[in-house]
């Protein structure tokens, strides 16, 4: 039996909980707004999607984002569970403070994610294997995959995945330098898309063996049926022009799920809103699904690009789509690009009743691609 996700929570610029994000998507509502406090005048834009009222009394913004979710998840997480923390820049605001104060010696180690991992481990009270996982913007989907593999290998019966990245001047400066930001607002898969909009999010998910979930009395939200990870081996910041890396990840995920392309109900794509990422994804989907369009959507027009938190947040939205039987609209999309027309969703729609799986994909710097396939609990492959 496949491992299952039996508890999940999230905080995003759309609000607290997966419900808040789901409702925003169904309403076509974006949380992107002007005048982000981390943006400088020289940057391409000051638009971003951020979480209001984060408690800065704790050691970092990311911990402030996670903090409201930790007590509840601690009650549900078995003490023998493992713990994986997925992030790209982690507590980078701690480093910023040291550098801005001129304390360069203290700066370097201050954002080591091992520090946050230890704080979270003590808060949750788990005693199983603990590690930090990072794979650029696919970090948290790779962490879910690693949790599944730890369970399949018999290393533990349950793994809590904690994921997130916070907005910061560091990140804003970097993405602005790379000319990756939209001067306006991210419009994934749109004909006139011109870049991504930064966002921030944190999420948690408890992954268990199906047997352990049953023993714990936890009702699974979804099964993790299959996964794939593949590298483009092509370019540091640009995606493959052929889409073959992402296509291989999706094909590996289908193979491990013992599923056929026709079983995929919808795709929660990475969909950053950059010209090259979205074009690469459509090429990959066409390599896998051929001439049979599958509904594709991105949530980044609503949440912004939430970096290390994106994979898990999007996976939880994909689960919600599976359970509700609704494919949300691609927020921010006005006129689909010619490559994406007939695939991307311009309005929420009912999911096809003859397909039982959903696919969530991510791609990141360095050419990493991940694909996770989820199904209703108890699916027979």
């Amino acid at each position: 039996m496949n491992p299952v996700i039996a508890y999940a929570d999230a905080i995003s610029p759309c609000g607290r909980g997966v419900d808040a994000c789901w409702s925003a998507l169904l309403a076509g509502r974006s949380a992107i707004r002007p005048d982000a406090p981390w943006a400088r005048d020289a940057f391409i834009t000051k638009n971003a999607a951020w979480i209001p009222d984060v408690d800065h009394g704790v050691r970092s913004r990311l911990l402030g984002m996670l903090d409201p979710m930790l007590d509840a998840v601690a009650e549900t997480t078995p003490p023998d569970a493992g713990l994986l923390l997925a992030t790209t820049t982690g507590e980078i605001d701690r480093l910023e403070k040291h550098v801005l104060a001129g304390d360069f010696d203290a700066a370097a180690g201050s954002a080591d994610p091992a520090g946050l991992l230890d704080v979270v481990r003590r808060r949750i009270g788990v005693e199983g294997p603990c590690a930090t996982v990072s794979a650029a913007c696919a970090s948290s989907s790779v962490a879910v995959i690693q949790a599944v593999e730890m369970i399949r290998a018999g290393r533990c019966e349950a793994v809590l995945v904690v994921a997130g990245d916070a907005l910061s001047e560091f990140v804003f400066a970097g993405f602005s330098t790379l000319m990756a930001l939209s001067p306006g607002q991210a419009r994934p898969f749109d004909r006139d898309r011109d870049g991504l909009t930064l966002g921030e999010a944190a999420a948690v998910a408890l992954v268990l063996s199906a047997e352990r979930a049953e023993r714990e009395g936890l009702s699974p939200l979804a099964e993790v049926c299959g996964w794939g990870i593949a590298s483009d081996a092509n370019h540091m910041t640009g995606p493959s022009r052929t889409g073959d890396g992402l296509a291989r990840a999706v094909q590996d995920a289908l193979h491990s799920a013992r599923g056929a392309p026709s079983e995929i109900q919808s795709v929660c794509a990475h969909g950053t809103g950059t010209v090259y990422n979205d074009a690469m994804e459509m090429k990959a989907f066409k390599l896998v699904f051929g001439a049979s369009p599958v509904p594709v959507y991105s949530i980044k027009g609503a949440t912004g690009h939430t970096m290390g938190g994106a994979g898990l947040l999007e996976l939880l939205i994909a689960i919600r789509s599976l359970r509700e039987g609704i494919v949300p609209a691609c927020v921010g999309l006005n006129t689909p690009d010619a490559d994406a027309a007939g695939w991307v969703t311009t309005a929420a729609q009912e999911a096809a009743s003859d397909a039982s799986l959903v696919l969530s994909t991510n791609s990141g710097f360095g050419g990493v691609n991940s694909a996770v396939i989820l199904g209703q609990p108890g699916r027979v492959s």
């Binding site: 020289a42 790379l178 990493v368």
Partner: protein, 195 residues
């Protein structure tokens, strides 16, 4: 019944002043005249590597380690060749240093524009990406660091990937105390005594 376990095909270490690798194709040892001057290692790369000189030290070391492991294991490294090999790493020190370098440079430059060639190395996986691009490594690539025993976690993760048949080989890289320790692992089939 068979039990599959990881088999070490090759090992290597890369330090500022030397590289060393062992595998079925023999031992390679080479002293480096300048810190991490990996371009001076004879026959290390089978393609032009002019950009490698601009990489940060850990990316140079990662590229060298991956190339050395493939050579030591007798795996073809032709310029047009790709390999479905996983690349996993641990060790946060180089990322921490690059994060501080990028943001310090940005602040000292007036907080208006950072340097892209510093920013792209602020991720723990940036060095892995350079090695994947250089050597055509198309398997899973990610950073995983367990505080208690990073090397053991790398071995366990790599073993799972090869043992499950996901990839034929996995490269494991651990940066610690200014040098890189690495291994190439593959599945090994052995008979259980209780079979």
């Amino acid at each position: 019944m068979t039990i599959r376990a990881a088999h070490i095909l090759a090992t290597c270490t890369v330090a500022a002043d030397r590289v060393q690798a062992d595998g079925a194709s023999g031992r390679v040892e080479h002293a480096l005249a300048a810190p991490f001057d990996i371009g001076s290692v004879p026959g290390l790369f089978s393609m032009p590597v002019k950009n490698v000189g601009r990489f940060p030290d850990n990316a140079k070391a990662t590229c060298a380690a991956c190339a050395l492991l493939l050579r030591a294991a007798g795996i073809d490294r032709g310029p047009e060749t790709t390999h479905d090999i996983a690349v996993l790493s641990a060790g946060f020190e180089p990322t921490a240093a690059m994060n501080a370098a990028f943001f310090r440079d940005y602040v000292e430059g007036g907080r208006s524009l950072g340097r892209g060639n510093l920013f792209i190395y602020t991720l723990p996986t940036s060095a892995l990406a350079e090695a994947s691009i250089l050597l055509g490594l198309t398997g899973p690539s990610f950073y995983i660091e367990a505080g208690a025993d990073p090397w053991l976690e790398l071995v366990e993760t790599g073993r799972c990937l090869v043992d499950s048949g996901r990839v034929p080989q996995a490269i494991l890289l651990w940066w610690r105390d200014d040098h890189l320790r690495a291994a190439l692992v593959a599945p090994e089939t052995m008979h259980s005594p209780s079979a």
